[in-house]
């Protein structure tokens, strides 16, 4: 077994194993230690002959390791945990394992934890990313990430955050942060806050987690909607950056570069959501992206109708700004500019960038240049900044 194989097993199985061990041990910290012990043993013993079911092997080994560890401790809690462990059946438990994972996702994204802690915990415990990988992805020092994870785990233990899937009445409120974390992770991979434009691995992790969640909760249309949204945005990735690394906007993208398979899957998921007729923000955004990826050109009237619906559910300035782009296509740039000028979105570079584009189309180059300057000053991503500088340079001022 090669090092890459083992890394892949780790990625695929870590979250699942920690989730199961957390149920068995009732403690996240102990569960993680046991799973890490088991992986360390795997490195030493698997060699060229890995077990048929690596996940089951890790869980069994981790459970035995935890029993050994608890035997060495003499506290009452340790003895209690040990007897619980010894009396548990050692079968494959497909059903409970799925529930374990769901429980852990809801624990990691509990609203009592800060959004950053939710993200870091989800990447560490569910996606199985190592602390240095998370730190690199978010361009923060490793110490910051590990400190955040340690603190979050301490709060889970001290504050008594339970390991359970919320019941139906609380589910919508509790599902929201889970979906928000996956969406954030995807977006960070799609338009990194700083440096180069995309970090493919973060987007891939987000899609993997969204797939797992959609499989675990097939009756929640917003979960399906989020997965569809991520797939349809991901499908356009190959066309989004030009030959010399420059940003290519949607209307100028080479559609033959789009991933047909992802688009087909995304469209099917959107259709499935629409049949349920319980629209939510993620489903509507997925539907908008389905229109963008349907046929040779975007049907902007349909996009605008969907944005109207989205704005009704989520009357935020960011939604209003995106809606204004559709207004420009359907009713012309003058009307869109009137909408944009009403918006209050300080420090958001896409507001002046959108204004600049509308002003250019209205043949008001001097104001457009000023708006581009404002957008350039606010943009933090190198590729986006280069794109804005190029657009500004093309103006005839």
């Amino acid at each position: 077994m090669t090092c890459t194989d083992l890394t892949e097993v780790y990625r695929a199985e870590y979250g699942r194993c920690v989730a199961t061990l957390t149920r068995l041990l009732g403690d996240l910290g102990l569960a993680e230690e046991a799973v890490q012990d088991a992986f360390a043993t795997a490195v030493d013993t698997w060699g060229d002959d890995p077990p048929r079911n690596p996940g089951a092997w890790i869980v069994t080994t981790a459970r035995n390791r935890a029993i050994d560890r608890l035997r060495r401790e003499s506290t009452r809690e340790a003895r209690h945990a040990q007897s619980l462990l010894l009396h548990q059946a050692d079968d494959e438990e497909v059903g409970p394992v799925r529930d374990d994972q769901l429980r852990l996702i809801f624990t990691c994204c509990h609203p009592a934890l800060s959004p950053l802690a939710q993200t870091a915990l989800t990447l560490r415990l569910i996606a199985g990313l190592e602390v240095p990988e998370i730190a690199r992805a978010y361009l923060v020092p490793e110490a910051t990430i590990s400190q955040r994870i340690v603190r979050a785990k301490k709060k889970i233990r001290d504050a008594g955050i339970p390991y359970r899937v919320p019941e139906a009445p609380e589910l919508p409120a509790r599902l929201a942060p889970v979906l928000a974390v996956l969406y954030l992770v995807f977006n960070e991979g799609y338009t990194a806050t700083s440096g180069e434009l995309v970090r493919t691995d973060l987007s891939r992790e987000a899609i993997r987690l969204a797939r797992a969640l959609a499989e675990l909760m097939p009756d929640e249309p917003e979960v399906t909607g989020l997965l569809a949204l991520l797939l349809l945005v991901e499908a356009r990735r190959p066309a989004r950056v030009g030959p010399s690394g420059e940003l290519v906007v949607l209307t100028e993208q080479d559609r033959s570069l789009w991933d047909r398979e992802l688009i087909a899957e995304g469209h099917e998921l959107v259709r499935r959501c629409l049949r349920r007729d319980r629209p939510g923000p993620y489903q509507l955004q997925a539907a908008i992206n389905a229109v963008h990826t349907d046929g040779p050109a975007t049907d902007w009237t349909q996009v605008l109708a969907l944005y109207d619906q989205l704005f009704e559910l989520q009357p935020t300035p960011v939604v209003a700004l995106n809606r204004a782009v559709a207004v420009a296509e359907v009713h012309g740039p003058a009307l869109a500019l009137a909408v944009v000028d009403e918006l209050d979105l300080p420090d958001y570079h896409l507001l002046p960038a959108t204004r600049a584009d509308l002003l250019t189309r209205l043949d008001r180059p001097v104001e457009a240049a000023a708006a581009y300057d404002e957008a350039i000053a606010l943009a933090t991503n190198d590729t986006e900044r280069a794109f804005l500088e190029d657009r500004r340079a093309r103006l005839e001022v």
Binding site: A112, D158, A159, I161, P162, P166
Partner: protein, 115 residues
Amino acid sequence: MHYLMGVRIDESVLPYPDDELEATFARVGAVNDEMKAAGVWVFGGGLTPSDSATVVRRESGATTVTDGPFAETKEQLGGFYVIEVDDLDQALHWAEKCAEACRVPIEVRPFEGIA
């Protein structure tokens, strides 16, 4: 587990105008009864304003007594509950009801231990 639910009030504004006082008491009383009926109630009560507070310090064998709250901030503890429930989600469920009844934020904190 035991949790403290602290009622956070802004003392620079009058929390409940006179004409709302009775309705507020009725709402809070109803939630208190509900907590007692559910068997989660341990103790609770409202506090007088923080200008009635006194701080006692022991330093190098001497005692000093000073007037006023420990920290002179706008936000003060207006009252509190101690409840006993299984986990944070259950505590948050009661905190939501209290926040609705008191119309002010509730801070939920677990006890580390209870004497």
